[in-house]
Symmetry: C2
Subunit: 97 residues, 2 copies
Amino acid sequence: MEETETCPAQRLLKMLSGKWKAEIFRLAVESPLRFNTLLRQIQGSNKQSLSTALKELEEEGLLEKTTIKLKPLHIEYNLTEKGKALIPVFQHLEGLS
Amino acid sequence: MEETETCPAQRLLKMLSGKWKAEIFRLAVESPLRFNTLLRQIQGSNKQSLSTALKELEEEGLLEKTTIKLKPLHIEYNLTEKGKALIPVFQHLEGLS
DNA sequence: ACAAGAAGTCAGATTTTTTTGACTACCCAG
DNA sequence: CTGGGTAGTCAAAAAAATCTGACTTCTTGT
């Protein structure tokens, strides 16, 4: 309940934990995300969880939601600058393991 | 239940998620860990959770458990090389947020 | 010998996270 | 005006993570 917030990295870490967040992030690096597409791409996931994860990633300022009001009229999620700044961290992480 | 293991960074991320792991890691960077000391250092935690976390960090090869068979005869947890390799990642993470 | 500390384990309870299924609202095509 | 797609929400259920308290074993100090 009460957050003790010891180190700053901890919050980032915390926000990338959750069953689907890393996967969502990975796909967001490749291209803008759309809700139903994501639902099909990430097999095993479900609306509610993706919805929650996207909301949290957005709140953390890693993703940005935009309504595209053209042709097909839809919603897109894109990495923010802060989100992009995480890419090297992931790459470094992949270098290990 | 079934793990899909998409990207390698995911497993690292997964293993640093959990309520106490980041904190344990942070303390391990500073000095070798001892169970009961940790229990006192991390307020709000409990034996069972720490035990589980330490076991998992050990299984991931980030921590190493050693029995010191001298003077007070006790057990120590130290970062492995793989564990140390994560330090820069944490530092980078702190650089953001 | 006895008490206390270290390092746990175990079962059960509680809490948090994730999943399910039903339902909404808007737009577009035929 | 009906069906299908997009982008969700909501409440309830199920699953996973965490916490509690009791108990264990080994060692050390007095």
